[in-house]
């Protein structure tokens, strides 16, 4: 690995040809050489290696078989994530109760929002799982996990009475019936 400091230093030193006075700082790479000379001499083939240059060969870093397993494992982690959250969610649901107040509402919202968000960004997750061999299975598990999470949130909404499932929830939308007969009258005046 090459050290970035050396290259950067070199680049910086060449910036701003307006004179030394203007520079904020300068790094002199070769001792006793002025900048202009070193430029000229570098071109003439003086053997001055840049910082971090090693003549020894770099060790081989190609992918090995064990890493393949790791990727698989990581992909399963991603796929099983939503399922793992469910017990936790169940616990939170149980703790928050069915009363309608700010905290339970916030929790329900979060619980519902997370699976939906995940489902929305399904394609990104698939890209993440691309390298895995069991991509489809993992995708399916991920989907099921999220759907379960969403169902749980809906169940919670239901038990809190937030779902318009009763006839009373639609009462306000019933129009008053139109009257067919016109009627009037009264006591004989």
């Amino acid at each position: 690995m090459a050290s970035p400091g050396g290259q950067g230093g070199g680049a910086l030193s060449t910036r701003g040809g307006g004179g030394a006075r203007r520079m904020k700082w300068a790094l002199e790479l070769s001792v006793g050489n002025t900048r202009s000379r070193s430029d000229r001499q570098g071109g003439q083939g003086d053997v001055v290696y840049p910082i971090g240059y090693s003549e020894k060969p770099v060790p081989d870093t190609s992918i090995q078989e064990t890493d393949k397993n790791l990727v698989e494992k990581r992909c399963w982690d991603v796929a099983l994530g939503p399922l793992k959250q469910i017990p936790m969610n169940l616990f939170i649901m149980y703790m928050s109760g069915n009363t309608i107040s700010i905290f339970p509402i916030m929790m329900v919202c979060m619980m519902a929002w997370r699976p939906i968000q995940a489902l929305m960004s399904m394609s990104a997750t698939f890209k993440l799982l691309e390298s895995s061999s069991q991509q489809w299975l993992q995708g399916l598990v991920y989907l099921i996990g999220n759907l379960l999470g969403a169902a749980l949130a809906i169940y919670k909404c239901q038990s809190m009475g937030l779902l318009p499932t009763h006839s009373s929830d639609w009462l306000a939308f019933i129009e008053p019936p139109q009257r067919m007969e016109i009627m009037g009258g009264g006591m004989v005046l």
Binding site: S168, P177, M180, M183, M187
Partner: protein, 940 residues
């Protein structure tokens, strides 16, 4: 513990329901006007030079003192209604005013300075005839009361009886007048009609009869109508048949001297009954020798008796009214001539009475002020040069019916409205029209702003909120409306609901005494440029004939539309929701042949009627025959009877019938139960609540009945009989409930009962309601409660969309108007509370309804003798306008669910806006700071 929780729950619940007025809101949204009624007696307080009181005793049994400078009440005493509180006579002496009340049952003395009672005496039974003050030796200390059989003398200081004597021959002689001339004698004058005059003289000291004479007078029938005592006890009578004046000296009592009017050069108008007016300035002295003789409707004479001779002093012709008044030693005669300017000022109704106040000016000349009472019960107080100081519309003490009409839009708004009302004619012209109307609106807005700016510079006291008919316009929330009131005297009023100012009045002449009125709004102000139109049906109950008065409710002017002549007696009228091409609702009038005539009856209307005739029904209830019948309209405008319900008149009679109000909206079609299912309301728009009372009033057998009848089919939906109960029954029928109040003779208390009707858990037909297609009977729930007070009238609040919860407005005899939440009158109130009922917010059943003082919407503004409450929706859903009328008129706004759609009165605009601005600037500054900081970090 459970009880405690229940109590706490109840308390919390009630706390949410408090609706009271804050101290600084007093008079802000409400106003009250107090009236006296038609004046029967009046006296100017003349015992003090600087006094500015006039005492009035009215036919509504009210005794009051008015400020003569402003016309406002100093004090007022309202007695019982009916003959029990009837004021028979008003006598005033010095600081005391004595009233004879209830056909001579009571004698009351009032201190006129503060209006407090001095004393009260119960008199012996007997029908009252006459009363007079008795003076002796220059001092007035007694009061004589003449009844049919007895005469009694009372001390003026404490009311104690000095003596009481039986009248001789009271079986044959009808004693009618009592007179005292200040010489220690009291004269009782009686008459045997068309035979002779009887005079009995009593001694003031011990009530001994000193003389008893009878004088031949075959022409005399009534003493007060034709006789009067003038100068030193000279009884003078006038008779129209013999065309003569008769005089009789009460001291000598020889016989009547006849003076034919011809000898005086006088002539009675044909058919007129002449009358005499004399004047006795001080009861301790004999009356003046001058008197007034009225010979015709516009002919008065001032005559003088001088040594047995009658001399004409002055002839007033034409003269409508004439009256005497005394100030100090001087007496003036005030004569009202029809050519006088004042007559034109009082254009509405003929003058009926003239009350003159004479006073001595500083230079010892006599000044006078006049209070004129006209046919329409108006009192007008006129200053000497003919300047009207004030008028009081006493007709408003007897409002029969009323309506509230929206005010018209301003010119600019109307312009805009008109633009959309017209038909489109090309794109370009539409754009131009729009632009022009927008320009007009802009102009109006700038003018408004300018006015605001201009007014803001003036001191607050100078800025007057002048309301006149010209600048009337609807306000933002339609809270200001025009109240159209119809009074029993036949005078119509237009009152601004915001201030209570009378904006117009219109006197309808020749209104029969027992007329029935029905006021209908045919066209509202919504149909610019057509003017709004109200129709008043006036029916003479004796002849059955009716007339229509069509007028513009905003200006009070008679409308251009000529109402149809109605030759047949009219039974009922019916306002249809159909409109003619000018947007006037069609009025159907049903005559006694059960034929129908339409007004307006244009071709368009008749065609519409033919099309819809099969769906037009009406019902008529005849209380006398106990018949309740429904009719259907045929296409040829004749009718056929569809149903009939006979209520046997031997056992019970129909007292009232209440349908639903046509402008009522019900927002929610059902009620949500505790388990979140819906109980649907039975909202039958054709439902009628018929109240019957038993004719037998014995407390064991009396009952009241409630019948719920469908007005189209005649089907009896529900019937309830309350045994051992008695009326008067007050009913409110609205939405799906009926609330009624009655007197329970068994438990001796007032009870409220509520009936609610429900369709059940599913709707039969949710799109249309037809009474002809209703196979299932509704579920009926009923509950009763004890109410701690009797009530005078009852009405339910009404709002624009019917979202706001309902309250009942209950007028109490104490003068309070109670706003009782309907929630307390709910037949679903459970006896045992459960989870579900708590979920439903039902209050546990308690038999007693409590009157909470914070429920009084009129705080301390007592409204005397409330006869009716009128409610009208405003433009705000939360707000309902209320007018209570009776002897007084009171207007206010109520908020049954509090003001959920309005910011509070004390809302801190300053704080909110300053916080907003501060936050805004803080955001701006911090944004800038954040930018700088980011840049700096980038440099690092």
């Amino acid at each position: 513990m459970a009880k405690l929780i229940l109590l706490l729950l109840n308390w919390i619940f009630l706390c949410c329901n408090v609706a009271a007025v804050f101290e600084d809101q007093v008079g802000k949204f409400d106003w009250r006007q107090q009236y006296v009624g038609k004046v029967r007696f009046s006296h100017f307080d003349s015992h003090m030079q600087s006094s500015k009181k006039v005492l009035l005793a009215s036919e509504s049994n009210v005794f009051a003192a008015l400020n003569t400078r402003t016309g406002e009440l100093f004090w007022r005493h309202v007695d019982k209604t009916g003959p029990e509180g009837n004021i028979d006579a008003l006598l005033q002496h010095g600081q005391d005013a004595v009233l004879v009340i209830g056909n001579g049952h009571l004698l009351r003395s009032w201190d006129i300075g503060v209006g407090g009672m001095n004393w009260e005496m119960v008199l012996d039974p007997g029908s009252f005839r006459s009363a007079c003050l008795v003076g002796h030796q220059g001092a007035v200390k007694h009061l004589a009361v003449l009844k049919k059989t007895v005469i009694s003398l009372h001390y003026l200081s404490n009311g104690h009886q000095k003596w009481v004597e039986n009248l001789p021959e009271s079986e044959t002689v009808d004693f009618q007048a009592v007179y005292s001339g200040g010489n220690g004698e009291v004269y009782a004058l009686g008459v045997v009609p068309n035979s002779h005059l009887a005079i009995v003289v009593y001694s003031l000291e011990d009530g001994e009869i000193t003389k008893q004479v009878s004088v031949e007078a075959p022409w005399l029938s009534s003493i007060p109508a034709s006789c009067s005592v003038i100068s030193r006890g000279l009884l003078t009578c006038v008779d129209s048949t013999t065309m003569s004046l008769y005089t009789l000296d009460l001291h000598l009592q020889l016989e009547m001297t006849q003076i034919p009017l011809q000898t005086l050069g006088l002539d009675v108008d044909p058919g007129f009954r002449p009358s005499l007016v004399s004047h006795q300035p001080n009861p301790a002295h004999p009356p003046l020798s001058e008197f007034l003789l009225q010979l015709g409707p516009e002919h008065h004479l001032l005559l003088q008796h001088n040594d047995g001779q009658i001399v004409t002093l002055r002839d007033y012709k034409p003269a409508l009214l004439a009256s005497f008044a005394t100030a100090g030693e001087k007496t003036v005669v005030a004569v009202m001539a029809p050519k006088n300017k004042t007559f034109y000022l009082l254009h509405d109704g003929k003058p009926e009475k003239l009350h003159v106040q004479a006073f001595l000016k500083k230079d010892d000349s006599v000044g006078y002020r006049v209070m004129v009472q006209t046919e329409d019960h108006t009192l007008t107080f006129i200053q000497q040069p003919g300047r009207v100081m004030w008028t009081r519309e006493e007709a408003l003490s007897d409002v029969v019916t009323m309506e509230m009409v929206d005010l018209p839009l301003t010119g600019a708004q109307a312009e805009l409205e008109g633009e959309f009302g017209k038909k489109a004619d090309g794109l370009m012209s539409m754009v131009m029209k729009r632009l022009s109307s927008q320009l007009i609106m802009l102009q109006a807005w700038i003018a408004h702003l300018w006015k605001l700016f201009y007014d803001a510079r003036k001191p607050r006291s100078q800025v007057k909120n002048d309301v006149s008919i010209e600048n009337l316009s609807r306000d933002e929330f339609n809270l200001q409306k025009m109240m159209v009131l119809v009074t029993a005297s036949g005078k119509l009023f237009g009152i601004d609901s915001k201030t209570g100012d009378i904006l117009w009045k219109h006197y309808l002449e020749n209104i029969p005494l027992n007329a029935a009125f029905k006021l209908m709004v045919q066209r509202t102000t919504a149909h610019f440029p057509h003017p709004p139109q109200c129709t008043l049906l006036i029916k003479d109950k004796d002849t059955g004939l009716a007339t229509l008065h069509v007028f513009n409710p905003i200006f009070g002017r008679r409308s251009q539309v000529t109402p149809p002549a109605l030759p047949q007696p009219i039974l009922q009228s019916l306002l249809l929701p159909l409109m003619d091409q000018d947007y006037a609702k069609v009025l159907l009038l049903v005559d006694d042949q059960y034929k129908v005539s339409a007004f307006p009856s244009t071709k368009n209307v008749l065609q519409q009627l033919q099309e819809t005739a099969s769906s037009i029904f009406f019902y008529l209830a005849d209380s006398g025959q106990g018949r309740l019948s429904g009719y259907r309209l045929r296409t040829d405008l004749s009718t056929e009877q569809v149903w009939e319900v006979v209520i046997p008149t031997e056992t019970q009679k129909i007292v009232s019938i209440k349908g639903k109000r046509s402008n009522e909206h019900v927002h929610s079609q059902g009620r949500v139960m505790g388990d979140r299912s819906v109980l649907y309301k039975y909202l039958n728009p054709n439902l009628l609540a018929v109240v019957t009372e038993s004719t037998d009033l014995h407390q064991e057998r009396s009952f009241i009945g409630i019948l719920l009848i469908d007005g189209v089919t005649g089907r009896i939906i529900h019937e309830a009989v309350q045994r051992k109960a008695r009326g008067p029954v007050h009913v409110v029928h609205s939405e799906n409930w009926v609330v009624y109040e009655y007197w329970s003779t068994k438990s001796r208390r007032n009870e409220f009962s509520v009936i609610e009707l429900y369709e059940g858990m599913d709707l039969y037909n949710s799109t249309v309601f037809s009474s002809l297609d209703r196979p299932h009977a509704p579920q009926v729930l009923q509950q009763s409660y004890i109410f701690p007070s009797s009530i005078s009238t009852m009405e339910a609040t009404l709002t624009e969309k019917g979202i706001t919860s309902r309250h009942l407005l209950v007028g109490l005899p104490s003068g309070g108007i109670l706003s009782l939440p309907k929630m307390f009158l709910d037949p679903r109130r459970p006896e045992v509370i459960s989870e579900q009922s708590r979920e439903e917010n039902l209050i546990p059943y308690a038999p007693e309804l409590i009157i909470r003082t914070e429920w009084f919407i009129n705080y301390n503004q007592t409204v005397s003798r409330v006869r009716g409450i009128y409610t009208a929706p405003s433009g705000l859903e939360s707000t309902c306008l209320v007018v209570a009328y009776g002897l007084d008129i009171y207007h206010t706004r109520v908020y049954p669910s509090k003001q959920f759609d309005v910011l509070k009165d004390d809302y801190d605009y300053m704080l909110i806006s300053s916080v907003l601005f501060a936050l805004f600037f803080a955001t701006m500054i911090s944004k800038r700071l954040a930018e700088v900081k980011l840049l700096n970090r980038a440099w690092r």
